[in-house]
């Protein structure tokens, strides 16, 4: 459990964090979202007792970090995987940290295996890739088998496999009743990993809710494709729905042609972005992830790329085969399906259209 109350940090005249209040509950993965410079790292450092708050409190399990009796067994942290001394071997690095908490050699071997670095244990960290360093940082956080985990941008530098591994690991750690707080500026990744989201901007709390609630709030209509579009439209309008032709809607809402629309999204080649992976070289410095034009941010329950490609091909086939697209607001997909059945209208496609989390975030963080 992490409790942050009215937390404020000023550096000179700049307020890095102001009046931040939130709780991170055990048993869940909590995502800590914000643009670069929003105050995520500063907040995490204050929780970890590294930075002294100007005012307010940050408590771990009810006490300040510096008052924890056995810090390594209560909280584990990954702040910046690059912050290690490269001359040491991975094993010596972890063993030195472990000694400080009275933790034995066996546990060091264990965490090295858990993060998949057993083979590199005797190699100098200087030769590690960014992904390996990230794994080493996670190993260090896990050393004391702590009940609270605080991870700052843990997916940075991980390959898609690594991201999937980390997601599974974090979800299982939370499943064991641990408190897991991880920060990111990649909203899509967060939507797949986190149960709850805390969104901050310019050091202030913007939003604190469950991921599901946040997504539901930004659900914007249902896309319906039907060969009986005209008849179905009348029936749906009679039930209180608002109907627009999907093509018109897209033309209005998505004027930028480079941006993939929701219907076209599954066929977009950059499927890997679903996994939150984003090649650093592809992104100009300072550009927020959310504005990356080639990324497909549509949320999906099913993150397996192969299935998505298949779904995309089907969708394109359906479109080619004709049938008119309708964008329906004011009714759930279930209600639309029932009405269609009642009126004997065939439905070829019925897709709840969500604003992507990235878009939602951009809107919230404005």
């Amino acid at each position: 459990m992490i409790e942050v109350t009215e937390l404020t940090k000023r550096y000179g005249s700049t307020r890095a964090v102001s009046g931040l209040t939130f709780r991170v509950e055990p048993g869940q993965v909590t995502g800590f979202l914000g643009h670069n410079g929003a105050g995520k790292s500063t907040t995490m450092r204050m929780i970890l007792g590294l930075h002294r708050p100007t005012s307010g409190t940050a408590l771990i399990n009810g006490v300040r970090k510096q008052d924890l009796r056995d810090p390594m067994r209560e909280v584990g942290a990954l702040l910046d995987a690059a912050e290690v001394q490269g001359g040491r071997t991975a094993f010596a690095h972890l063993q030195a940290l472990a000694y400080a908490g009275g933790i034995g050699r066996r546990r060091v071997v264990e965490v090295l295996e858990e993060v998949g670095l057993a083979g590199a244990a005797r190699k100098r960290i200087a030769g590690f890739s960014q992904g390996m360093r990230q794994r080493l940082g996670i190993a260090a956080a896990l050393l004391g088998d702590p009940g609270v985990l605080i991870l700052d941008e843990p997916v940075n530098g991980l390959d898609p496999d690594g991201i999937r591994w980390l997601r599974t690991l974090l979800r299982s750690l939370a499943g064991e009743g641990r408190t897991v707080l991880l920060s990111s500026h990649l909203m899509t990744e967060m939507s797949l990993t986190a149960d709850r989201l805390i969104i901050i901007g310019r050091g202030r709390l913007i939003e604190e809710s469950t991921t599901a609630d946040l997504l539901a709030r930004f659900q914007s209509g249902v896309l319906v494709r039907s060969p009986h579009a005209a008849r179905l439209s009348r029936a749906l309008e009679a039930a209180g729905a608002t109907i627009r032709s999907a093509h018109d809607a897209q033309a209005v809402e998505k004027p930028a042609p480079a941006r993939p629309t929701n219907t076209a999204a599954p066929t977009h080649p950059s499927q890997s972005s679903r996994l939150g992976e984003e090649p650093a070289h592809a992104r100009p410095a300072g550009t927020k992830a959310a504005t990356h034009p080639s990324q497909d941010f549509r949320l999906s329950e099913e993150p397996v790329p192969g299935r998505l490609v298949a779904a995309g091909i089907e969708a394109r086939a359906a479109r080619d085969a004709g049938g008119e697209e309708l964008l329906v607001t004011g009714l759930t997909a279930a209600a639309i399906g029932d009405i269609a059945l009642a009126h004997g209208c065939a439905v070829h496609e019925l897709v709840p259209r969500r604003t992507s989390l990235e878009e939602a975030f951009m809107e919230i963080a404005k």
Binding site: R45, L48, G49, L50, H51, R52, K65, Q66, L68, R69, P71, M72, V75, A77, L79, D80, A82, E83, V84, Q85, G86, G87, R88, T89, A92, H93, Q95, A96, L97, A98, Y99, A100, G101, G102, A140, G144
Partner: protein
């Protein structure tokens, strides 16, 4: 605390800079050998009346404190420059214990290495002198004590370097301070009137270790005062460092 010492001991052992510094201390042995050789040659050609080699320690005495100071600097400056200090601090209860553990391992390593170096220097000098009456046998008054106090000097220098690096949080800054500080008394000595010049020149670590051993004409202080000043250096190094590490954001 014992856990922390074990942790810091492993860190110091697994730091490459540690071995570079220890290897560099051998330069003191080489330097002493050369100096002893040239003094012996002078003795052979001109007879007695020139400088004596004595224990040989005095010929390279200014080097070890700077090198062992670097040992102390590297024990923490690398953590500050890489940012690893943040990870270290998340794993411990109170920050000052970290500093104390580092001071303990640095002092221990410097004392042992400094002592070994002093013996190596002594025996090298005596081997070069080879029986000429310009050396110093352990049977002689203060010869053995002069060698034995060198370890203490090295330990103090190590802690001094650690303190400097903790306060300055920068490797170059601490290294510059470490080279300039020991020079200060030598420079000041020239401008100050007696007895101040004598007192100031007696404040360098090599001078203090000789005074600690009660070597004749080593300086203005006796062994007790010299010991107090050396302990004072340790306290003066660790106090500001403790305040700094406790109160600064990491």
């Amino acid at each position: 605390m014992i856990d922390l010492v074990a942790s810091e001991w492993l860190k110091l052992r697994s730091l490459r800079a540690t071995y570079y510094v220890l290897a560099a201390t051998l330069s003191a042995v080489v330097l002493t050998g050369f100096a002893a050789y040239s003094i012996s040659r002078y003795f052979d050609t001109h007879g007695p009346g020139g400088d004596a080699v004595g224990t040989g320690l005095g010929l390279s005495a200014d080097l070890p404190p700077v090198l062992f100071g670097m040992l102390g600097v590297f024990a923490i400056s690398g953590e500050y420059t890489t940012g690893m200090i943040r990870l270290t601090l998340t794993t411990i209860r109170s920050r000052w214990t970290l500093l104390l553990a580092k001071a303990a391992v640095v002092a221990a390593m410097a004392a042992v290495a400094g002592q070994a170096l002093a013996f190596a220097t002594y025996f090298t000098a005596q081997a070069v002198v080879a029986g000429r009456p310009i050396g110093a046998s352990f049977a002689e008054h203060t010869a053995l004590t002069e060698v034995l106090t060198s370890g203490a000097g090295a330990a103090v220098a190590g802690v001094l370097g650690l303190g400097l690096a903790t306060v300055l949080r920068s490797t170059p800054g601490a290294l510059i301070a470490l080279v300039v500080l020991p020079l200060a008394p030598t420079v000041l000595e020239r401008f100050l009137p007696a007895p101040w010049n004598d007192w100031v020149s007696s404040l360098t670590i090599p001078s203090l270790t000789r005074q600690l051993a009660a070597v004749p004409d080593a300086g203005a202080f006796g062994p007790a005062t010299a010991a107090t000043v050396l302990v004072g250096y340790v306290v003066l190094s660790l106090l500001p460092a403790t305040v700094a590490i406790n109160h600064r954001d990491a």
